[in-house]
Symmetry: C2
Subunit: 339 residues, 2 copies
DNA sequence: CTGAAAGCGCTAACAG
DNA sequence: CTGTTAGCGCTTTCAG
């Protein structure tokens, strides 16, 4: 059923020339007479010949596949979608194809997915670290695969990483709430196994400490990984005696859970809220949602350019590039504490 | 700098066996003594040998690369993100890698991106049609590449396609607004070059006709491709004398533009709105946004399963699978006409 | 300028 | 059960 595909040999036969001449023409190598070029091109066109990308790779020095492996949390999440799009765009500039995979937050899937990329001989990797250690990548690197981590710093290995300024952003959120008069501020975060979650918690709690709030007394709820768990946790905290007057949510799904919880209790104009990362339409809600905005497209862009630089031979020291974040006031974070 | 990678030959030498024996062990072929298996596996482990995926493909019947090309509008858009995620998930079940690319709405990019996928010998393609004709895919199919279109039906070629029930959804929106008493209802849509935009307009306008509204009098504004253009167009229509009492927006970005325009004019509780496709947080706005909800994950899932069936040899007639949509009432679409 | 020979890393086909 | 030989489609090397 699947038709036989013409090879270079077929083209050579049809054009009545040697195999190597066809190879020269197809690859645009010099030192071929115009007449030959024409004959070969015609024969190739007549057969609709397409060179076998992977066969040609086999004998070429460097053996590049001009492809790149991209491991994201989940493409279905707009945050990762923006990162993916940036990586795609930069890759397109370099004639490089992008292989994509989503790990979710399953540590066990990270290494197999990376191994799969490597098996396919990608030239570079843009990775999201979800496992406890990324030590295993050393072996891949030893084989000449360049790699960079995005969004989260790796453990157990020295490598390039492009991350948001998580700590500063969370600290800014804390300072903002304190400035608006809050003292009882609760933290709702993702799984502390995730690097960003730890950074944000640290930035947040330490800033409260600097503001003179005993850090031991800050309510901290963690391991919230979806809207629903977050919503339930927040409902519970708010229904206890002497509840917090302000909330900080360390991630967009948690922020959405908080919004839903506050609405359900009718407290969305009473309890202040600052979220880390954008929430869609956050400016159109009542009140608008104050967030620490990240720039995922920028992160993806920087990360991709970094791998391409490495692939081009850049051997300077590994670095951590920090992409700034920005507190965006939209109402929910400027609510005063309830009497 | 990039280290030399061990080959099967190296493993054979180290284990003191023939090349083919190593091949057998690596591929789990039968008829190898346990002792041999152990020796080979140890040698392979010591060298951290990994078979060359593409070299092995070369001599294998079928020549499968176990990879799939996915062309979406843009991964940065959650609609396509969900489709991409579904395709990824199904592909993972089949041990197949996903190559991804975004076309935006640039008709000129479609064919080159598909050609690039084909050049890399993907086994199958999941495609979004943005060019005027998809006739060119016939050549690819002739080479044994299976393909399916998603979201939009192709032109000029008979092929599998998975689409939303655009016409019925748009008609349902029109009927809903009529039922709530509206007669002057405006349509705001995307570029009519896009198949879905045409289908939705047709479904919408024809339903109004059936309701006895002269279709020639229905205000139709098209070619709105982003929030901003949409917002401006809607502001303009609403500021004219005798403005519509209800709006239908045929796409999520246009819907968002409409929401912004209505807010700016303070008319969000006066003018009814039904949008096609989900808008994030649409249920939390005031009023909630009534939409015709699509199921992009489902579309991606069905499309992916269809290509895999084709790749497995299914040669039944090409079909168009229609994924149902659902009108979700949330407030904005149930507003009565202003006096 | 052109082409024949060798070989990339691996698997199929065929002997032992 | 094991190994040898040929060859996948192409590029390199090297000789005309």
């Amino acid at each position: 059923m699947s038709a036989r595909v013409p090879t270079m040999r077929d083209v050579a036969a049809r054009a009545g020339v040697g195999l190597k001449t066809v190879s020269r023409v197809i690859n645009g190598e010099p030192n071929v007479s115009p007449a030959m070029i024409a004959r070969v091109q015609q024969a190739a066109a007549e057969l609709d010949f397409r060179p076998d990308f992977y066969a040609s790779r086999l004998r070429r020095p460097g053996r590049r596949t001009h492809s790149l492996g991209l491991l994201v949390g989940s493409v279905a999440n707009p945050f990762w979608g923006a990162i993916a799009r940036a990586v795609e765009d930069v890759s397109a500039e370099h004639g490089t194809a992008v292989l994509i995979a989503s790990v979710d937050e399953d540590p066990g899937r990270e290494q197999p997915l990376v191994a799969e990329f490597v098996r396919r001989h990608v030239d570079g990797l843009v990775l999201t670290a979800v496992a406890e250690s990324q030590e295993y990548v050393a072996a891949e690197r030893g084989r000449g695969t360049q790699l960079v981590f995005v969004d989260r710093s790796p453990s157990g290995v020295d490598a390039d990483a492009v991350v948001s300024d998580n700590e500063a952003g969370a600290a800014a959120a804390a300072a903002h709430l304190v400035r608006h008069g809050h003292r009882r501020i609760a933290y709702f975060g993702d799984d502390p196994l995730i690097w960003t979650a730890r950074e944000r918690r640290r930035g947040f709690v330490e800033e409260l400490g600097r503001a003179g709030i005993p850090t031991a007394e800050v309510p901290v709820v963690e391991s919230l990984r979806d809207e629903d768990t977050a919503k339930r946790a927040i409902l519970e905290v708010l229904s206890q005696p002497d509840p917090p007057t302000a909330l900080f949510t360390s991630q967009n799904l948690v922020t959405i859970g908080a919004i839903r919880a506050l609405r359900e209790l009718g407290l969305h104009r009473e309890v202040a809220l600052v979220g880390f990362d954008h929430v869609a339409m956050g400016d159109l809600l009542e009140p608008g949602i104050t967030v620490v905005g990240q720039d995922p497209y920028r992160m993806g862009d920087v990360a991709a350019r970094l791998v391409f630089a490495r692939m081009a031979g850049d051997e300077s020291a590994y670095e951590r590039r920090v992409v700034p974040v920005r507190l965006i006031e939209r109402g929910s974070g400027e609510l005063p504490p309830r009497s």
